[in-house]
């Protein structure tokens, strides 16, 4: 077991593990989302949009790691964009869902 593997092979194995995560998450997403009624399709899209603003995680690292000026500035703009979706996305989804009221009110 002492044979060495290079960075390339390690990355390949790593990507495959991530592919498992991707496929399984996509599967869970498919099963859950096919059960969302058409009534809520607009909030669904706005919700998934807000959730995918999770790329803010990558943006924060790029903006705050002090690697080089280019990465910092690109990261800064990315943080702005992602924050717009986090803040705006969750607020507007809640605004919509608040409007859906059952009868006999």
């Amino acid at each position: 077991m002492l044979e060495t593997i290079n960075a390339e092979q390690l990355a390949l194995v790593n990507q495959f593990l991530k592919l498992f995560v991707f496929v399984l998450a996509g599967f869970v997403g498919f099963l859950v989302i096919t059960r969302v009624p058409p009534l809520l399709h607009t909030p669904l899209m706005s919700a998934t949009n807000a959730i995918s603003a999770i790329s803010i995680v990558g943006a924060l690292v790029a903006a705050g790691s002090d690697h080089n000026r280019v990465a910092t500035v690109l990261g800064f703009v990315a943080v702005i964009c992602a924050t717009i979706n986090v803040v705006g996305g969750f607020i507007i989804t809640d605004r919509m869902l608040r409007m859906f009221k059952g009868g006999r009110s």
């Binding site: 390949l12 399709h41 669904l44 803010i56 924060l60």
Partner: protein, 473 residues
Amino acid sequence: MIAVAGGAGAPSLGREAVTLVTYLAASVLFILGLKGLTRADTARRGMQYAALGMLLAIVGTLLKEEIVAYGWIAGGLVVGSVIGWPLGTRVPMTAMPQRIAISHMFGALAATLVGVAEYHTYLRDGVPIPRPIMAALGFEVLFGSLTVTGSFMAFGKLQELLPSAPLTYRGQNAINIAVFGGTLLMFAYLVARPDAQPVFYAMTAVAFVIGVSLVLPIGGGDMPVVISLLNSYAGLAASATGFAIDNSLLIIAGALDGASGFILSIIMSKAMNRSFGNILFGAFGAPVASSGAAVTGEMKEISVEDAAMQLAYAQRVIIVPGYGLAVAQAQQAVRELADQIERRGGEVKYAIHPVAGRMPGHMNVLLAEANIPYEKLLDMEEINDQFPETDVAVVIGANDVVNPAARTDQGSPIYGMPILDVDRAKAVFVLKRGKGKGFAGIENELFFADKTRMLYGDAKGTLTKLVAEMKAL
């Protein structure tokens, strides 16, 4: 990546573990959030879970040892919040499609920029990029940048900054395919030679162009599919970011977004009875040469007084709203009309076609905003059986989705599209701005039928007059 973070020793491992725990919690909370959306009464709580997950993930990231400078981060968070707040609180529900389109742009732009920053940092530090990482970076900037411009074009069309009609030219598909093929070649070259910097930036630039040329030839009426598809791409770009920077949370959240957009685009194209390929490359909105049988006869107008009288005595009424309702801002007026009918003992339901409005589910949001209880908003499958027992069906600003030619006329471009069976109701009122045709440019024989009566004019004005008339009865 935990192992290579080393150097500082034990404390760094502890902090990294805290971060990973917040990511795990966020993944679970996101999925619970979407599960909440499967029912109207649990949806709000679900989204609160998801928002908590997002907060946890952000805090967890800020704890990471790699983050050494907080100035730019704080600035970005503040500026983003200042822009995001009004986009969340101020945008009217009628503008939701363009609002969502522009947020796809922001999401995709964030992913693209992270990809470019990552690529730049690798090359600058002289670290060779492993090919599997390069493949992920390539997907990230490809999906990201075409979604940025594609969403911006969709936004422009929906906001009516751009003409909503498809923009086409001769040889368009051939040129698009050539550009797309060229991009794939550049991508393949990059995976083989990750340090080919000019190729990377050329590929990114061309992907921006692809986004433009993908959306410009698509007409306004097909926007529900386009928005869903861009939703999916934005998710895939986020997922690819996760592959590139080794972050499972990004992969999971992106996969959920990608799956959701994909499912919605399938539902939308089924509702239009068209394939993806046809929507993307068909330029459907172009004038149709001939629509099979010509419609003969005359559209018969009815006065507001007579219409009000008939509605007052109707026992079962179904309202069929279309995009025209949103254009006329008539949601509140519809509700007042329904109140009048219900006051006189009639029963009112709403029939919602999947592609009514400019994005999936748009009509439901608009009617919910007018305080209509969601139990009365029924999908096409739920309500189609009920039309034969309906005394009056009131069509407001909808056209193609109630065109019986979709069932009967094989020559019609919308033949096979599932429609609301409004023509089976005992009587039909159609509120319409003028005598024009629908998005697809097709005559609607329903409007010429013996049981149909037309009420011309602005929908809001007509509804207000109907309400006043019914109150006076």
